[in-house]
Subunit: 690 residues, 2 copies
């Protein structure tokens, strides 16, 4: 199954036959998610100011809007000053241009047809799709196909047939821990559309805030949001904006745990006496709704009826995670209720609660989703399980007849590398599910939990890694070459900027703040080789950072997939295997740059005390760069005369320095220590072995 992967590794090489451009070098494509079938041909279609877009078939407002945005983005890149202002029903097919043919207006719903066919030759571009939503997917592919040569811009001749592997490809944004305003949601919807994702899951309530206006129970947003919530008008605007991009919006209201904000508004619904205040720490907290109190159902039903009408999607998320049941255990009335109703434990009590809620929501036409924990005996079979605990839970749920989506392995807030997420397959090769069970695996969702993110940093926590997850969920399983994924991800990451995403630009803003306005180059050099502490280690105990802490620090500027470290580590691997001279030269250049960097950092730190927390980290980088340089020089023979005893002592000291360089600094970790260690070990082994 690696055949396609190998083809991808080499990149998609195409021969061009574009008149005078025929002799030029073939150019590599950077499609992501990679389409199901790609057939590259000779030639291509040149773009000019008279380029036009026209439609035929069953075009609708969604398509006209999408095609007009396509035109503006293409013009923004090429500066061609297209004469066409809007794509409308009266747009005529020009001599040369793009024709979009659709058969029917799509519906923004699960399992809608998103397939498309794209055919480009010297004469023009034909995009065919069953639905306008499929056409939108094809327009994104087309934008990724734009190439340039000395003559100008062109689309290479190509035939693409494409459709998604999974129908549910989601991004979950937690707007509860740190509220994320409209512009964050909108630009991320644009990013999702660019990589063909189709579900925005909004985590709207949690211990730290209640983020939606309720007209039925205004005390929710009035008392439990500190003024940061979406009005119903704004929710409608989000839904419209998403719909225009072929994206569903699934709301989540987390019950019965993660419920502090519910009981700040309604203390009488809690399982222990209040009053309550909003959380500003991270973690799992005690406040839990009382499932034995009829008022709980009255309020939930009133509120859920309102929300069921506000959010048109048939799927409705009730959370259900991490209810530790402490308040239930301590409440005699609840214990008596369990005994009376023969509910053996808190799991059975939660299922009792869930089933009452589910039964109500089903009457409102909703299918209920919940996190892993809702999967208990007697859970309604119509429910969807969102697995955060692992692939095993996912498979188990599918075997029991539940539809499922995978989130375990896609927690982008934990700042693991794109490659980790990329290789995390909802249906890995060799899975033991039957064909029917496999169909129940609907896809996956990447959650960005927002304990440690703000509107300034959230984009760099979502992008570009989410594009790799989007490919996992759209493209064939066999598209799985990590190196080629990273090559394409770099391109996609840059292109996502045109949608207003701030993952790249805001890093410089944070670095300028840290440098107190001084030139940021030394900080940039350092940040490019570190990654923020992964998993839950950055915020030990959940209370080092509070919701109101500063998220303007070095760790906030750092990203997963430290770019210079990725490059350096690849070079070292190559060099160790091949002793390649070019790799050697570049390794030495990097090491020399790092060796000198601490001296450049020191004056910055003096005038910007916020940088003190990374003084050691910066020194460590320079120190181990020196070790690396010594090893590189030594293996060239300059240390050949050294005695074995000296050498062993040097090596021990080196190992100590390397160990020290593994310590965090400013809640980030150097990512080139292992590679330098390899250089040092290779050097230290050579006199002994040689």
């Amino acid at each position: 199954m690696k055949l396609k992967g190998i083809a991808l590794t080499a990149g998609i090489l195409i021969s061009l036959n574009l008149g005078i451009a025929a002799q030029q070098q073939p150019q590599t494509l950077s499609l992501m998610p990679y389409p199901a079938q790609v057939d590259q041909q000779q030639g291509g279609f040149r773009l000019a100011p008279d380029f036009t877009v026209a439609t035929s078939g069953a075009a609708d407002e969604r398509l006209y809007g999408g095609a007009t945005r396509f035109l503006r983005r293409l013009d923004g890149r090429t500066g061609l000053f297209f004469t066409q202002e809007h794509v409308t029903a009266s747009s005529k097919q020009g001599q040369q241009g793009l024709l979009i043919k659709t058969s029917r207006p799509g519906e923004v719903k699960l399992d809608e047809d998103e397939s498309y066919r794209l055919k480009v030759d010297n004469k023009g571009i034909l995009l065919e799709a069953e639905t306008d939503i499929g056409a939108l997917r094809g327009l994104e592919t087309l934008l990724q196909l734009v190439l340039a040569d000395e003559q100008g811009y062109y689309i290479p001749a190509i035939e693409i047939q494409d459709s998604p592997r999974f129908p549910w490809r989601g991004l979950m944004i937690d707007v509860a821990r740190h509220f994320q305003p409209m512009e964050v949601i909108k630009r991320n919807l644009d990013g999702m559309a660019a990589v063909k994702m189709n579900v925005l899951h909004l985590h709207l309530t949690d211990d730290q805030g209640f983020r939606v206006e309720s007209k039925v129970y205004p005390q929710f947003h009035e008392k439990a949001s500190e003024g940061e919530y979406f009005t119903q008008e704004q929710i409608k605007e989000i839904i419209r904006y998403a719909d225009a991009r072929g994206i569903r919006v699934v709301p989540e209201f987390d019950v019965p745990g993660h419920a502090t904000s519910w009981v700040v508004a309604f203390p009488e619904l809690a399982s222990a006496p209040g009053p309550y205040t909003l959380e500003n720490n991270s973690g799992v907290f005690d406040p839990t709704l009382d499932p034995t109190n009829e008022k709980t159902y009255e309020v939930l039903q009133g509120f859920f009826a309102e929300m069921a009408a506000l959010f048109p999607d048939p799927y409705f998320h009730i959370g259900g995670d991490e209810n530790e049941g402490k308040q239930w255990d301590a409440n005699a009335k609840i214990q008596a209720f369990m005994k009376k109703n023969k509910l053996a434990d808190n799991h059975e009590l939660q299922t009792y609660f869930n089933n009452r809620i589910i039964s109500f929501l089903e009457k409102k036409g909703k299918k209920v989703i919940g996190w892993d924990e809702i999967l208990q005996p007697n859970l309604s079979k119509s429910s969807v399980i969102q697995s955060w605990r692992g692939a095993e839970g996912l498979a188990q749920a599918a075997k029991q007849g539940y539809t499922t989506i995978l989130s375990n392995g896609y927690y982008i807030d934990l700042l693991h590398r794109a490659s980790d997420h990329y290789l995390n397959d909802p249906l890995p090769a060799g899975n033991t599910l039957t064909a029917e069970e496999r169909k129940r695996v609907l896809g996956g969702e990447a959650p960005i939990w927002s304990e440690l993110v703000t509107p300034t940093t959230i984009d760099s926590r979502i992008w570009p890694r989410t594009a790799a997850i989007a490919e996992r969920l759209w493209s064939p399983r066999e598209v799985n070459d990590v190196e080629d994924m990273y090559r394409r991800l770099d391109y996609i990451s840059f292109r996502l900027e045109e949608l207003g995403l701030q993952h790249k630009r805001n890093q410089q803003v944070l670095l300028r703040n840290l440098s107190n306005g001084k030139p940021i180059e030394p900080l940039q050099t350092l940040v490019d080789v570190v990654e923020p502490m992964k998993g839950y280690t950055r915020n030990p105990g959940g209370n080092t950072y509070k919701t109101y802490s500063p998220y303007t620090l070095f760790a906030d500027a750092a990203t997963a997939d430290a770019p210079a470290a990725r490059r350096f580590n690849t070079l070292v691997e190559d060099y160790i295997q091949t002793k390649d001279g070019a790799a050697r030269k570049e390794i030495i250049q990097w090491l020399e740059k790092w060796q000198e960097n601490h001296a450049l950092m020191e004056p910055l730190i003096v005038q910007s005390p916020v940088l003190k927390s990374i003084e050691g980290l910066s020194a460590n980088l320079s120190n181990i760069a020196i070790l690396g340089l010594q090893a590189m020089n030594s293996s060239k023979g300059t240390m050949a005369g050294k005695k074995a005893a000296d050498h062993a002592s040097d090596t021990k000291q080196a190992m100590e320095q390397l160990e020290k360089a593994r310590e965090q600094g400013g809640r980030t970790e150097l990512q080139i220590v292992d590679a330098i260690e390899k250089l040092v070990m290779q050097d230290s082994s050579s006199p002994v072995g040689g």
Copy 2:
């Protein structure tokens, strides 16, 4: 009157006495607008995590909100993890911290007291103000005072007494030509508050669009906005957001000219038969409301009554500019009306129209503002004249008894330098107005007309230059040293980033788009020495660029006040006068960098055809850098042996190259040609003279 200016030029040097930090270098302050009185003292107040903010007196929600934002911004810079989450009525004054004393809640209205006193010593910080609005102004000054040394962050000991020179200090945003969404308005309100501006004037209608929801006449926003308008909820949110920052919101609805969007919705109100479509060019267009049609007044009164209620500020702007009257001249009915009513010309007809509107609006409790042209005999004396045509008009209006605000000289969309705006005084020294007439000059407004700006570029057209205008309107007239203004402007510009303003970050985004994702350094070198074509020259005829054209080009990345050119030009001035060796060395470094730059640009241009329009510009920069280097080397004596004839020929050729380098490229112009010419001329004159 230059005494204060001289003190500023040297910067504010303070001696510190902060325990162990006593021996350190004094640090320069960067306050802007510069306060009325500043008294610097020994010592200062150190910031620590237990820093607290408390209030006494008449604090209110506006102050609690502002003080909490102050706390978060200070924490975001220092990374101190302040323990205080909110400033509330129950916030206690800590051992050490900031105490804010106010006497009464302010009102967001013209002439409200905005004065404050700030006193910092080793023990703490006291901010006193008559109103909470004055306190907000003081908090911004305090944030500009934060300094750092090796021990950490501190506020220098200081006493400041401050109040504004003019009560009307505005920014006008044209949201009609290119709509600017909520986040643009909000972040610019934050920027305005940071430099103590107090009026946001929204230009809401023009030929290109009608940008506010009307419930009385929904056809306005439905037919004439292409879906881009503020809902009334959004307007209320803008007003709330502005009020929280002590900023008034003044709406403008431009009549009877600039009226295409009005008549797209209501063709029957035009002075010529329709139908009409929205303009997508720039300029002055014919569509004009019919002042002889009673329906015009019916609709305007219905709509204005709605808007008068929506916008609480007593000032209401009716535009009134650039009505060329072509439709009036050509309409027999209108001509007959004029004759019948003894209206001698179009000016009198417009005054007739204005007075009917003004009379209606005055009944609604509004004072009317209009552009210069509304100033005609018989205009109601309650009207305010906004002068776009010149200081003479301003003085004339004041002499006639009208209150006025100055906008001439503050047109930031025309991309003149900050220094030009900075020295443009509404009441220059030597003006001939009486004391009473001077009081009628309320202040000024910087208008950003949006023909050529988008949400991506608008911030870089507003900031940082508007901060210089804000200083002109707030600070004493004698604060007018250009060099020191630029020094402080650089700092303020960087600090404005923390408010989300994108003037710095988006330049890199545009350059990356232009470079097709390749490293942008050569483009950055080039953009740093050019400025976009000034005045109305970038868009000749008003139709080179349409509303839907790409604004992602090199000229959009370029800014007024090209930073490297400013530095280089200063160096050349210094060097020519002083022959300073350090200046000479840096001049040569710049010239060498520019000499080499075109070779670095060429491969970028090859793979990114959008850059072809600046190929000549880039070549010119390298060519004249070579001339500069020759001149620098020659004056060192290397060309001393050359014959006079050769020399003259070289000079002629050099002058031709310099002339060529004055041509625009990519709608930008090199800003170092004059300086290099000076170097060349000096060199060429030396053999003749010597």
